[in-house]
């Protein structure tokens, strides 16, 4: 864990609420994009990422300072997003049209839209690994750290995900 994370957390635990802003600033982009990759809606991603930070803040006493902050926070965020989807029981369209006001032609097109639809049909673990890799561009090592899984199991998960995705893409004629 970078020194700054543990220092911020210790300060928060000592009663300095404002020190939590250091953590928020460091991880807000990752948090927002992770939430967006799950719920496909800018406003919901904004709200859910904020809620996850609030939950993390409230549970900070349970956090093990010897461990890295982000994998722990990622779990809170993911659980919050999945819980939100379970309640809503439907997924927004998988296009990223309109994200940050960009036009479809600038960031997405038919092929990308079809691939996104296929990614959504993958089993949860496979989908999660693929999204972390291709939606957000994490390295395989970062993914393993984030999911707190051995590299081997991430790689075999990815192998399975790509195999399944290939079948789905072939069904769509890609």
């Amino acid at each position: 864990m970078p020194v700054e994370d543990s220092e911020c957390i210790k300060a928060v635990l000592a009663g300095e609420k404002e020190a939590f802003s250091g953590i928020v600033e460091r991880y807000r982009k990752r948090a927002f994009l992770t939430a967006y990759a799950i719920v496909h809606n800018e406003q919901d991603a904004w709200d859910l990422s904020q809620e996850a930070f609030i939950r993390a803040y409230r549970n900070l006493k349970k956090f093990d300072l010897k461990r890295p902050f982000y994998p722990w926070f990622y779990r809170i965020l993911k659980n919050r997003c999945l819980s939100f989807l379970r309640k809503r029981k439907q997924l927004a369209e998988v296009s990223i049209e309109g994200m940050f006001g960009l036009k479809t032609s600038e960031i997405d097109h038919d092929q990308a839209r079809l691939v996104r639809e296929c990614v959504e049909k993958l089993p949860e673990t496979a989908r999660e690994i693929l999204k972390l890799r291709y939606y957000q561009g994490y390295s395989y090592r970062e993914i393993a750290d984030m999911l707190e899984k051995p590299m081997g199991s991430v790689m075999s998960g990815l192998f399975y995900a790509r195999k399944k995705l290939k079948e789905l893409l072939e069904e769509k004629g890609l």
Partner: protein, 148 residues
């Protein structure tokens, strides 16, 4: 390195994330394995397709008010909890005193007394039921864990 291990390590190989020793071992295998070379070609094709999925970086304006939003919500939640607890305590106290006075007042007809007691009893049962349900849900919620 077995054939399956090679297949699983293709992404690391292509991304340049393999250790030197693994890379050398992989290249040795690739020299003699036509099928793995084809797999790498396929992998690169799919990689190009998947690269299009990258989410755009959020603009800086998105973060305006982000931290203050979190801070305000944290504060407000504490405020709401305190307010709700206080309101519940006062309501119960008021209701209890009202029922107490009504029951001891001989001028109030017995039917009204019984009706008020039923309302009080019903409210108590509803409250216990809701609390129990919430505690049960909290205990059994699939995603409640925030810590491994």
């Amino acid at each position: 390195m077995t054939h399956q291990e090679v297949l699983e390590k293709i992404p690391l190989y292509v991304a340049g994330e393999l250790s030197q020793a693994d890379r050398a071992e992989m290249e040795l295998h690739l020299k003699n394995c036509e099928s793995c070379r084809r797999e790498i070609e396929e992998f690169r094709k799919m990689e190009n397709m998947l690269e299009q999925l990258r989410l755009p970086d959020p603009p800086d304006e998105l973060w305006e008010g982000y931290w203050s939003g979190i801070y305000n919500r944290m504060e407000r939640k504490t405020g709401w909890i305190l307010f709700s607890v206080g309101a519940i305590v006062l309501l119960f106290f008021g209701f209890f005193r009202m029922v107490e006075e009504m029951l001891s007042d001989p001028a109030v007809p017995p039917l009204i007394k019984w009706g008020t007691l039923c309302i009080g009893g019903g409210l108590a049962i509803l409250l216990v039921s809701v609390l129990r349900e919430q505690l049960f849900l909290r205990k059994n919620e699939r995603y409640r864990e925030v810590r491994r």
